[in-house]
Amino acid sequence: MSTWSRNNPLTALAVLTTALLGASVVLIFFYAPVDQDGLNQKIFYFHVPIALTSYACFGWGALKAFLHLWKRLPSADLESYVAIHQGVIFGAMTLVTGSIWAKVRWNAWWVWGDEQLVLFLVLFLFYCAYFMLRFSVDPGPQRANLSAVYALFGVVLIPVSFLAIRLANSYIHPTVFTSSGPQMATSQFATFCVAWAAMLSLAYFLYRFELAGKRLDANLRELRELIT
């Protein structure tokens, strides 16, 4: 088993991810108790882990960007880009699941009082601009630098925006919603942790998968250039 997983890391990761996702779905629907919010509270186990995973991706992308600027690691630029790409995908899922939750809970598709959701909208706009930038500069060392600098701005923007949205709510919305609901029971917390581990594992698998694809693509292009 161990040699097989060492030889096929991506497949092993995919198996692990599938097992964790399956386990988390079973736990969410059959183990975690239904609380006073009823069945719709179950989206909490998807929405919050997806959001936290998205933060992890942005953080990882910024770390790789920093390593690119500081240590000039040759692979860091691509890794930073792929991590941010995954972060945007999970960010979009956060917006969608958060919007659904808001509809069920507060009967509105969009609630400006929900700080996390507004923060994600700002970050989503920011990182979409990251892609616009990346695709309008020719590939090369300069594009890697520009992307890295912008990614670092992003990771600074997260706490600053969070603070800003907190402040804005005090003059736009006097009442602040608490989206966490009642205190979590142990079984709920355990379910939440498994769900989060599943999402992290999924993000990591997708990250490795995309990275492998991109590298293969680059190698293929090099080969083709050599032949012609």
């Binding site: 706009l125 309008s136 500069v137 090369g140 060392p141 600074v156 923007l157 603070l163 804005a168 005090s170």
Partner: protein, 213 residues
């Protein structure tokens, strides 16, 4: 340190001299901010509150800054001035600081006209709004200059700068509008100071990577 300040002073003087001779940024910013205020007058229905107009003042400021920033690196790009600047034996961050100060001067000049015009068109403004505008300008030019340099390299240029800049300007707008509309603006002014400090440091440190390979 003294050397650094002298470099910055020379570079600022270069930008201001260029502007004095060509006059293509500041008049555009002035005209833009006045036009924007007139548009806002017609965008607000009768009996709208003064508070809504205060919010629009901040929209005008941010967009006027974008107009100025779009022009910031035109000479560097079109006349290949940036190659000369990079060859000059000065710290690269001095280029950023000088360009920020030049844009700050243009933005400040535009606001010297815009704020009285706003007071005449809409409603009077208090000292807290003026303080917030001054603090916000620092943050706007610090971040905006780096982003303008980034945008100058890309193919989309003028198109991409607002996309890069607006998400980063949201906290500035929050701080500015908050300071303009609440009774005790201390928290918001403090937040603007924090924004200025954090983004000035990261901009100062990262500018070298934007202009070099």
């Amino acid at each position: 340190m003294r050397r650094y300040a002298a470099d910055v002073a020379v570079l600022v003087r270069k930008d201001l001299t260029l502007e004095l001779r060509a006059r293509d940024t500041l008049p555009a910013m002035l005209l833009f901010v006045l036009s924007a205020l007139v548009v806002f007058h017609f965008a607000l229905p009768a009996h709208s509150s003064d508070l809504a107009a205060k919010g629009l003042l901040w929209v005008a400021i941010v967009f006027t800054a974008i107009v100025g920033l779009t022009r910031a690196f035109v000479a560097e790009r079109e006349q290949r001035l940036i190659d000369g600047l990079l060859l000059a034996p000065c710290d690269r961050s001095a280029i950023w600081l000088a360009k920020s100060l030049a844009v700050l001067a243009f933005l400040g000049a535009a606001e010297v006209v815009a704020l009285p015009a706003y007071a005449a068109f809409f409603s009077g403004i208090g000292w807290s709004t003026v303080a917030a505008v001054a603090l916000a300008d620092l943050g706007i030019v610090a971040v905006g200059t780096v982003l303008a340099a980034i945008a100058a390299v890309s193919r989309a240029r003028e198109l991409i700068l607002p996309l890069l800049f607006l998400p980063l300007a949201i906290p500035v707008v929050v701080g500015g509008v908050g300071a303009s509309v609440v009774v005790s603006p201390g928290r918001y002014l403090g937040f603007l100071c924090l924004y200025d400090a954090v983004f000035a440091i990261i901009s100062w440190a990262s500018f070298e990577y934007v202009v070099t390979e």
